[in-house]
């Protein structure tokens, strides 16, 4: 009203719609804009504050009633220090090789021989896929040459000439005896030995013993030095370092060991149709006589426990057909994926294997009278000798055909058989082979290399010493790799969620895991494979424990929608007001400014 009254004479002159004389005031524009900005700022702050509040209140049950500094402090999230692994641990196992040559020409230069063997080793190592932990610089080789005239030359002192405990004559006896003899000489050292004996035999015979040595017996000429070197190098690289495994077998990444370093071997005897016949076994005895030594031997790699059960009414779910030629029912390798009938075979009922243990199922399938005898046909048309198969990371299965497939039709009650000791022995030999295969080792005793066939002496404990070395090395590698991956994922997770609480316990677990990993690393570099495997196992299981710690889960339950739902009823209507006011004021200011400019122009 008053504005109408105090019109300045100048304003009256100009039409108020088109121009104005005074510059438009910035007061209201500034006011509304400052309200808008403080509103936006306030909203952002409130949302952030709310986020913190929700996290703090819900996870800590803290009481926030003090002033802002305290609030900021209370809003802080507890994060234990996690020192994360900087890079991949570089594992390097030292390998000590020695080659002994008996009855060779004294002209043979051991240094020359050594160089050529080393050359071959390098060639073979570079040929195959790079193995974890092998380091060419840490490989040492010593060559000792015994000529027939008690002349001896050597380059290093692993096995100096003076220690003349063995001679060429000893190699004439049986393999087992030679093996024991070599063991008595070289026991206690982590050195892989190859003894080459120039003996009068026709062919060349290569035997790899149960411990850490192999020997080659045969007639050699001086010209064959290169051939000799390649043979020795092949034993070193392909057998002692790589474990004599074929390329086609299970890759080293699949270690059938649970994250907590435990394996449960669950043996199941399945009677497909108990109305025909019922088989039972005395597992207790097998457990004591066969499995316990294996479990002890594999102790550093995994903590193994054994259990068994007999199940009934468990038909297989694949089909088989009658083959006249074989006089038996045949199932093919392509049926194998359907052989295991997970609906009827209730194998996985181990409560004892809690947590992250690995359960390996071993199944003896006794077919019913309708499909007896049941045989597995290999893709090449032959009948499988073991009549069994493995499935990596699951276990193995064997079909055990009853001695006679004729069912006693007169007696209504089915015969109850206890599996004979021979049958059990046979079955468990196959199981042992399957178990070795699951670990990626060979199940037969012959290794066919580039330079001929090698005989591998089997150990009565299932695994020879050099095989255990290979497994330990591989296992250490695998464990450390998995430990690093797990900790890496944990660190990425922690970094991506800055509002996540990390308990002290997790920090401790990570720390212990890293310590164990370091210990494994140092053990590995000293060549103590067993303790390296044990501490790497600890490192992995601690890393997994840290990753799967229950308290980590708590953060993921908070949702942004919650915050939105709580604040939108206020911010939505207010934002309308503020935005409209700012917009209107801005438009008005522009319009008035234009008017003023127009007036100025006229003026």
């Amino acid at each position: 009203m008053s504005a109408v009254v105090d019109k300045s004479p100048r304003e009256a002159a100009a039409s108020p719609e088109s121009m104005r004389t005074a510059e438009p005031g910035l007061k209201r524009l500034f006011l509304t804009l400052s309200v808008l900005f403080s509103f936006i700022l306030g909203m952002v702050l409130l949302i952030i504050y709310y986020l913190l509040l929700v996290v703090v209140v819900f996870l800590f049950n803290f009481n926030i009633c003090a002033g802002f500094p305290f609030l900021w402090k209370s809003v802080e999230i507890y994060r234990s220090e996690i020192s994360l692994m900087e890079s991949n641990p570089s594992l390097s196992f030292p390998f000590h090789f020695q080659a002994l040559f008996f009855n060779f020409n004294p002209d043979l230069n051991p240094h020359h021989l050594k160089l050529s063997i080393l050359d071959q080793i390098t060639k073979l190592t570079s040929d195959s896929a790079p193995q974890c932990g092998t380091n060419k610089n840490l490989t040492t080789l010593s060559v000792t040459l015994h000529s027939n005239k008690s002349h001896c030359t050597h380059d290093t002192n692993f096995y100096p000439c003076g220690a003349n405990a063995i001679s060429a004559v000893d190699f004439d006896s049986a393999d087992e005896d030679v093996d024991e003899l070599l063991r008595s000489v070289f026991s206690g050292k982590n050195i892989y030995t190859v003894a080459v004996v120039n003996g009068g035999g026709d062919g060349i015979r290569v035997v790899v013993g149960k411990y850490r040595h192999a020997w080659i017996v045969g007639g050699f000429d001086f010209e064959e030095e290169d051939d000799l070197a390649s043979r020795v190098a092949e034993i070193f690289v392909k057998v002692f370092v790589n474990g004599g495994r074929d390329q086609g077998l299970i890759h080293g990444e699949f270690m059938p060991v649970g994250a907590d370093g435990r394996i449960v071997l669950s043996f199941n005897l399945l009677n497909a149709e108990p109305n025909d016949w019922v088989y039972d076994w005395d597992f207790q005895r097998i457990d004591e006589s066969v499995l316990t030594p294996i479990m002890e031997v594999l102790g550093p790699i995994a903590n193994i426990s054994v259990e068994s059960q007999v199940l009934y009414h468990t038909p297989k779910s694949s089909f088989s057909y009658w083959d006249e030629k074989q006089n038996s029912y045949i199932f093919n390798t392509k049926d194998l994926p359907f052989f295991v009938n997970s609906n009827e075979w209730h194998l996985d009922t181990s409560i004892a294997a809690g947590g992250r243990s690995k359960i390996l199922q071993f199944v003896v399938y006794v077919p019913s009278a309708k499909e007896c005898p049941l045989r597995l046909q290999l893709p090449n048309g032959e009948i499988s000798k073991t009549n069994g198969f493995i499935s990596p990371m699951w276990g193995g299965a064997i079909v055990l055909n009853p001695r006679s497939c004729l069912k006693d039709s007169e007696s209504k009650r089915p015969q109850r058989h206890i599996m004979s000791t021979e049958d059990l022995q046979e079955v468990f030999e196959v199981f042992l082979g399957q178990f070795r295969q699951l670990f990626g080792l060979k199940s037969d005793n012959i290794y066919v290399g580039e330079s001929g066939t090698f005989h591998l002496l089997p150990s009565e404990r299932g695994f020879t010493e050099w095989e255990l070395d290979v497994l330990s090395r591989q296992h250490t590698c695998f464990n450390l790799h998995s430990c690093v991956t797990t900790l890496g994922s944990l660190s990425r997770l922690v970094q991506s969620l800055p509002r996540m609480i990390i308990m002290d316990e997790i920090g401790k677990q990570v720390q212990f895991s890293l310590e164990a990993a370091k210990l494994a690393q140092s053990n590995a570099s000293q060549g103590v494979y067993e303790s390296a495997a044990v501490s790497s196992r600890q490192a992995r299981s601690l890393a997994e424990d840290a990753f799967f710690h229950p308290s980590i889960m708590s953060v993921s339950y908070y949702s942004f929608e919650h915050c939105f739902a709580v604040y939108s009823p206020f911010f939505l209507p207010v934002s309308m007001h503020v935005l409209l006011a700012a917009l209107r004021e801005w438009r008005r200011y522009k319009k008035e400014k234009a008017k003023y400019l127009a007036w100025k122009k006229i003026k």
């Binding site: 207790q284 005895r285 004591e288 006589s289 009414h313 209507p573």
Partner: protein
Amino acid sequence: MTFSHAKSTVGVTQSMANRVLRLLIVCQVLYSTIAFGSVLDIDKEEEEFSEELLLKPLPDRKVLAHFHFQSTAPPSTSFGRHHHLFPKPISQLVKKFRVKEMELSFTQGRWRYEQWGGFDHISSNNAKPPGVELWAVFDVPQSQVDASWKNLTHALSGLFCASINFLESSTTYSAPEWAFRPDLGNLRYGTLPREAVCTENLTPWLKLLPCRDKAGLSALLDRPSIYRGFYHSQQLHLTLTGSGSEEVDSGIVLEQTLTVVLQPSSWRTGKSYVDKAHSQPSWSINSIFGRKVGGKCVLAKSSNVYLQFEKGLVGELKNLQKENANSETNKLASKVFLSNLSFDLSVNPDKVFEEVDNFHSKSTSILYEFSVEKYNDSHPLDLGLTWKIPVVWSCQQAPLHASRFLMGSGNERGAIAIYLRSTELSEGLKKSDIVDKSCELRVNVFQVVPWYIKVYYHTLQVFVNQQSRAVADIMEKIHISPSKDKTSPGVMELILKLPCGLESAALNLEFDKGFLHIDEYPPDANQGFDIPAAVISYPDFHASMHFSEDGSLDKSPMFSKFQEKSLVLSYTEILLVPLTTPDFSMPYNVITITCTVFALYFGSLLNVLQKRVGEEERFLKSKAGRKTGRLSQLLSKFSTKLRGKPREPQPSTTVSSSFVSFKLILKILLVAGIAICWQYYFG
């Protein structure tokens, strides 16, 4: 009592030792030629399995079928690791959690104590409250019992696909001292009244049987027909046998029972009776289960089907026979009771047993045994029972019939009443009471109440024959552990000492309803909260059944179980208490309304802040000079009136702008649309 018990166990162990010694000698002879052989010949004792089915006609035209599967594992060194018949998961469970005794039951429906009996073994042991009931005794130090219980509940819930893990919370289980089972030590007891029981619980239960449901009696368990029944209770009871030592673990007896009450549909149209209600339906195994018994499970040591006629039924049949036949045939009939006058059995029984009754009552129950051994798939067993004449009888009752109900109304307070009513048995006692004045009837009451039902135990009132009595007169022993909020439920254990001649007794307890935290409400909070069933037992009464002299039934695990003295026990109904449930959307409503008020205030403040009063009025005036709609005229009139100033005369223009009216219509439409939407979505 305890002394004789100890003596008998000593005797048993001695005889065991003797047997072991004898076995040792035999084995030494045997194994002298074989290099290996374990020294412990306890291993030579084999795991055993047996299956039995008891069928019993019930007075209300229904049939009771009671399956009993028993697996035993002898004491062994490889316990929990190597098994032949015994289910491995169970033994691993026992070994891992060191369970001494355990019972788990899944039940659907309510056992009708009045019609189906309350004094026999089945009604005391297999009649369970609806839902899940679990109790376990642990062989661990007192401090570790709760931890073991929690782990056990998790393992069982995984094993049986049920939410038994809810029993983990300390508010759901209790540690009864003496009223539930006498003197068991580290006992924990928990129930889940609202657990639904279905096939997914039965399948894992069947998995524990060596033949599952592929062969034998368990093949009868056709899911639709057993879940159609009136009552269904599946149980698992395990007990340890023999004392476990350092090297040898004790053996386990695992009893799996399934009790179903089914209504047979009359499968054969008999003579039409005048009194249809009293005619018993004729049935056969095929008609009630839809399947026949096609041979035994080959792994079972024994496999039998039994048909039991109760005391009352036998007495009634005898009476009928007396009426109908002369004394000569009657004698013959009472010898074997294969009368063809009142009923027909489609299969001739292999054996007939008569109960040996200690009470010398006028009739005893009769049992027909049918061995499944001789039947196979091509010649299945289909036991059928055909009634020729209508029979009416009643089952033997527990001394008192217990029921429980809620009193009071509103969401604030209420009262629980347990009402005990005399049955024919206690009437019988009353008669004998005339001779013996000091006759007393002892009743154990065990009641668990969740913490949010705050029971005032001092308000306990006892009424005998509808007359209030002092609590101290009636109570022999009482143990109460009051509930702690959000920690433990309240437990009440009582032994009542009631006079024999009573007609009714009632216990009354008042309670306040508590408030739960908003997080503690279940998803369907308005349905109400369950109070678990109270357990009423009669320590002076034991149900045991002894069948005839020759002892052939002693081998049957089910009947050796029946012969054991078991406490007569019954469960009351589950109560449903409605609690005050908050309006769960209230916090959000409060937020919304406050925010709206704030927003309004803020908006108007902002409007006032940026308003230019002078300029606006000038603008309005000039606008009015140009064109004035009827509405704007009215508005300005209204505003001037509000301001209390005389209205300035305005040049009235009758030309109303079509533009303004269009805008107006649009606005009205918009408002109406919003209102309709609101009504549609939120109304």
